[in-house]
Structures are given as structure tokens and as C-alpha cells.
């Protein structure tokens, strides 16, 4: 019976595994080897141990790229979570035309990073952008994103939030919809205020969904490339580079495959750590519910 089912399973799952092994797993393992060697054109690669890692970790350009990435991850993802939570609660509270509004909130999911950059670049165009003009009209400071690195980072964060809010919102809204209505009724009968209901019923029960949304977004925001590349190219003077752009520049502009490979594995390990933290948090939450 067992061998029969094995023979049944293999042809079905083989295509997926062949794709993943050949395009993702084996190349990634090869990157480990690249990361501990030094190679240049026409010369055989030589083993250099951890030199590439040390070089990357002590490169001020990498550290700045890492800092920028962490700033985007921390600032954008948490802002996005807050907005997503507010929107989910707004929807759960009862809205007319709910399906139409839901589709409207989902719309940015269809927009590619390239088009999003076109949109936001023009909206914040220093001369003619409608948002710039609106900010000026009410006397607020404008975003001088093409010269001022911190302003560029704000624009990148806004753009990322805009592109990914649909995902965060859907996860939280779906989780909110499955909270049983009797819990809210019971809380009302006990005389709980709106804030107490949110604090004691909604938030704890949304916990797992919040963790899921956060970790997915941490992992994906950490890889951010296209938005930054298309908006600022990492400039002016490499001040808005993120880790993925640093990797790209090392590999494809400077032909330094060793340090690029080391950067790549630093990215993989960071993602694994984030995911491990997620499993840990989820376990602890499941444990907390059991008690």
C-alpha cells in the first residue's frame, strides 16, 4: 500500500519540486559557495573563507543600505498594519456598498511597482504634482524627494504602504469576520465601553492574524528593490540604497560576485530569523490560548 501510494505521489509532486530545486534551491546553495570565494574574469575562483562577509559587514555603503531597509520595514510595515486595522474595523462595523468599497481598497493590488512609481512621482512632482500643490496651498512643507534623501525615503514608504495595504487589510478583515458575534453581545451586556471591547475582545482574537500579516510584510519589505530602484536609483550618491540594491550594484555594476553572494545570504538568514520569530510568537500565542 505504501509503495503504491509513493508511486502515485511521485509523478504528481515531481514537477513542482524539479522547478523549485533547479531554479531556487540549487542556485541558492551555489550562492553559499560563491560567497566564500573570490572570482574575477579569466581566473579560477579561490576560497577566501568569510572574507566577503567581513567586507560587506564593514562596508559603510552596506550598513547605510541596511539601515534604510530597516527604517522602511519598521516604519512602513507598522504604519500599514495600523491603517489596515482601522480599515478592517471600519468595514466590520457595517458599511453601505461594502463589496464595492472592498474592491476599491483592493485596486492597488493590481498596480505594478513601475506604474506605482509613475503615479507617485507625478503626484509629488515638485513643480506640478497635485499633492505638492495641495500641500503648498494649505501651507505644509512639500517632499523634495529628488534632492533630500529622507524625503525620498518617506515617498518610498508611502508607495510601499499604498501597494501592500490590500494584503494587510484582507488578512485582518478576514480574521475580524470570524470572531463570533456573541462575544461582542456578551461584552455589551457586561457594560464594556467601545475601547474595552476593542482592547479585550477584538485585539486578542486578531493576534494571530496580526502576527501573520506582520511577518509576511517584514519578509517582503526586507526584499524591496523595484520601488527604490525606479524612484531614486539608490541615489543621490547611494544615500537611499536598500540591501537588495546594494546586492544588485555589487553584482551587476561592480562585478563583485563574492560580496554580492555574501549580501544575498545575509538576506536569506535575516528572512529565516524573521520567520523563526514568527513561529515562536505563534507557538506562544497558541500556548496562551490553551491556558
Amino acid at each position: 500500500m505504501r509503495s503504491r501510494s509513493f508511486a502515485h505521489v511521485m509523478p504528481l509532486i515531481a514537477p513542482v519540486h524539479i522547478l523549485i530545486l533547479s531554479m531556487i534551491v540549487i542556485p541558492s546553495i551555489f550562492v553559499i559557495w560563491l560567497s566564500v570565494t573570490k572570482s574575477s574574469f579569466g581566473l579560477a575562483p579561490t576560497y577566501v573563507g568569510l572574507e566577503n562577509y567581513i567586507r560587506v559587514l564593514s562596508d559603510p555603503a552596506f550598513l547605510r543600505a541596511l539601515r534604510n531597509t530597516v527604517v522602511i520595514v519598521v516604519f512602513a510595515v507598522h504604519a500599514e498594519l495600523g491603517i489596515g486595522l482601522l480599515v478592517a474595523l471600519l468595514f466590520a462595523n457595517g458599511l453601505p456598498f461594502r463589496r464595492v468599497l472592498l474592491v476599491a481598497v483592493l485596486a492597488p493590488y493590481a498596480v505594478s511597482e513601475v506604474i506605482a512609481v509613475v503615479m507617485w512621482r507625478f503626484l509629488f512632482d515638485p513643480d506640478a504634482g497635485p499633492v505638492t500643490l495641495a500641500l503648498q496651498a494649505v501651507g505644509l512643507p512639500i517632499l523634495d524627494w529628488s534632492f533630500e534623501p529622507s524625503h525620498a525615503m518617506i515617498l518610498i514608504a508611502l508607495l510601499t504602504i499604498w501597494l501592500h495595504l490590500p494584503f494587510t487589510f484582507i488578512i485582518l478583515y478576514a480574521a475580524r469576520l470570524v470572531i463570533p458575534g456573541d462575544l461582542y453581545e456578551a461584552a455589551r451586556i457586561d457594560g464594556a465601553t467601545n475601547f474595552q471591547v476593542f482592547r479585550r475582545v477584538t485585539l486578542p482574537l486578531l493576534g494571530p492574524a496580526i502576527v501573520v500579516a506582520l511577518v509576511f510584510r517584514y519578509i517582503f519589505a526586507f526584499r524591496i528593490f523595484s520601488e527604490v530602484w525606479l524612484l531614486t536609483n539608490g541615489g543621490p550618491a547611494r544615500t537611499t540604497e536598500v540591501v537588495a540594491i546594494y546586492l544588485y550594484q555589487e553584482a551587476f555594476s561592480y562585478n563583485a560576485f563574492g560580496t554580492a553572494a555574501a549580501t544575498a545570504w545575509i538576506m536569506v538568514v535575516a528572512s529565516l530569523l524573521l520567520a523563526a520569530g514568527y513561529v515562536f510568537l505563534l507557538r506562544r500565542q497558541v500556548g496562551a490560548h490553551a491556558h
Binding site: I13, V31, L90, A104, V118, R121
Partner: protein, 277 residues
């Protein structure tokens, strides 16, 4: 009490208006601007009433023939990647749902862990290999890459959807003498159609919009529409915003309509994908 309800209603209305402005204004603004005549794009304050014209679309047609080639490439690559990802994910999802064993459980864990590897990592070794095989700037590279980066999510989603189909149906078909692939094609595929559509929405949107792999692996022949648009942004000193808006509208319209029509499957896919893997 009456004023309180009125205030809550007003608060909701403001919140909804803000939300719509946030989600739709950037999209509406480029579509609208693509139809504005000549210099009215830069009018201060921005013009919201104007006589629509297709002049930017005409210039796009005459000045950027590469864009329409890009649309064709995007169509071929999206169709190829979606077909590949949907078929392989359905097979694997079926196996992981119906033949539960330590082997399939390990294989699902493996699929989830693989999603942690950032796509840019694999470009380092694949770039020289693709060049050596003379596959750079071909459709097949992007088709395989796009499909591969979605088969792990696709398999997990298909397993979740196929789990909801009663096993008794397979068993009855098996007793009637149906072979495994016949059961899969005649029984599972029709019943798991919502799952297949959910996987398809993800792959279509991703393949149609993807930038990084297209940027690294294509040059002229297989260049996708987003890449051509990025070149229009790149020539920013002489950027013709009208043409850029027209091209953006053409690239965006089909995928936006697709997402609007398929929103149920997208929502189902996002929820299942996030909770099961």
C-alpha cells in the same frame, strides 16, 4: 442620542471618502491625465474638467513601438507562467491532500521554507548560467522563473481547496475503475476551480507586473511592458508625461479589470495563503 448617531455617520463618511481618495485617486489621476490635451497635464491648479483627447495614445503608438512589443511579450509570458504554475500546483496540491504521509508533509514544509528566499538571491548564479545556455532575453526564462516563484504558494493553496472536496467522491470513482489522472481531470479540477482561479489571479498579476527578473534577464526580444515603461521613466529629462500616462493606463487597465472581476478568488487566496502557509 440622535446627534451622536449623526456624528458617527459623519465620521464614517469622512473615513470612507479618505479611503477612496487614498486607494483610487492615484489610479484615476493617471488615467485622467492620459486623456488631457497637451500641456494641460501641468496646469496649476490641476484641471479636472477638460475635453478628452487620444493624442498621447497616438504618440505612444508612433514613438514607442517597443511598448506594444512589450505588451505582446507580457501576454505570452503571463499566459505561459500561469499555465505552468496552475498545472504543476494542482498536481502537487492533489497529491499532498490525498496521499498524506510523512513524505508529503515534509514536502509541504519544504515549500513553505523556500518562500523565504528572496528572488534577487537566485539571479546571481542564474545570470551566468542563462547566458551560457544562450537563454537570456527569451520568454522561457521568465515563464519558468515566474511559475517557480508561485508553485509553492500554489501547491499549499490547492491542497487547502482540494481538502474541502469529499474523499468519498474519489473513492467512488476509483471503484468504478477510473485512473488517477482521470479522477484528477474529471473530478478534482472542476470541483477545485475556485482554488485554481485563486492561484491564477496571483500568478497573472505577478507575471504581468514583475520588474526585477525582467530587468535582469531580458534586453530587447523578450522585454516586458513594465520594463519598457521603466525606460520611459529613465529618459526623465525628456520624459513625455503624456505618453508615460497613456502607456501606464494601457498596461494597468487589463490587470485592474481582471482583479476587479476576480476579487472573490483573490480574497479567498490571500486568506487561505496566509493562514495555511
Amino acid at each position: 442620542m440622535h446627534t451622536r448617531r449623526l456624528l458617527v455617520g459623519l465620521g464614517k463618511a469622512v473615513a470612507v471618502a479618505t479611503l477612496l481618495l487614498w486607494s483610487l485617486f492615484p489610479i484615476a489621476f493617471i488615467v485622467m491625465s492620459s486623456l488631457k490635451p497637451g500641456q494641460e497635464i501641468f496646469a496649476v491648479p490641476p484641471a479636472y474638467v477638460f475635453t478628452p483627447t487620444f493624442e498621447h495614445y497616438a504618440s505612444l503608438w508612433s514613438r514607442w513601438p517597443a511598448f506594444f512589443g512589450g505588451l505582446l511579450n507580457s501576454t505570452v509570458i503571463t499566459a505561459g507562467a500561469t499555465t505552468l504554475a496552475v498545472i504543476t500546483s494542482t498536481y502537487a496540491g492533489y497529491a499532498c491532500s490525498r496521499y498524506v504521509s510523512r513524505f508529503t508533509n515534509v514536502s509541504v514544509m519544504f515549500l513553505i521554507v523556500v518562500r523565504l528566499i528572496p528572488p534577487i538571491v537566485v539571479t546571481l548564479p542564474l545570470f551566468p548560467i542563462v547566458n551560457a545556455l544562450e537563454l537570456n532575453d527569451t520568454h522561457i526564462v521568465l515563464i519558468v522563473l515566474y511559475a517557480t516563484f508561485f508553485v509553492s504558494l500554489g501547491t499549499v493553496l490547492m491542497r487547502t481547496f482540494i481538502d474541502q472536496i469529499p474523499r468519498e467522491l474519489d473513492e467512488a470513482a476509483e471503484i468504478d475503475g477510473a485512473r488517477q489522472f482521470t479522477i484528477l481531470r474529471r473530478l478534482i479540477v472542476p470541483l477545485a476551480a475556485p482554488g485554481i482561479l485563486a492561484v491564477a489571479v496571483f500568478v497573472v498579476v505577478f507575471s504581468w507586473n514583475e520588474f526585477l527578473f525582467a530587468f535582469i534577464f531580458t534586453a530587447t526580444n523578450a522585454k516586458t511592458a513594465p520594463l519598457v515603461i521603466s525606460e520611459m521613466i529613465g529618459s526623465i529629462d525628456g520624459v513625455d508625461w503624456g505618453i508615460l500616462f497613456a502607456a501606464s493606463t494601457v498596461q494597468l487597465a487589463p490587470v485592474l479589470l481582471f482583479v476587479v472581476f476576480m476579487n472573490r478568488y483573490l480574497v479567498a487566496g490571500m486568506t487561505a495563503g496566509a493562514t495555511k502557509g
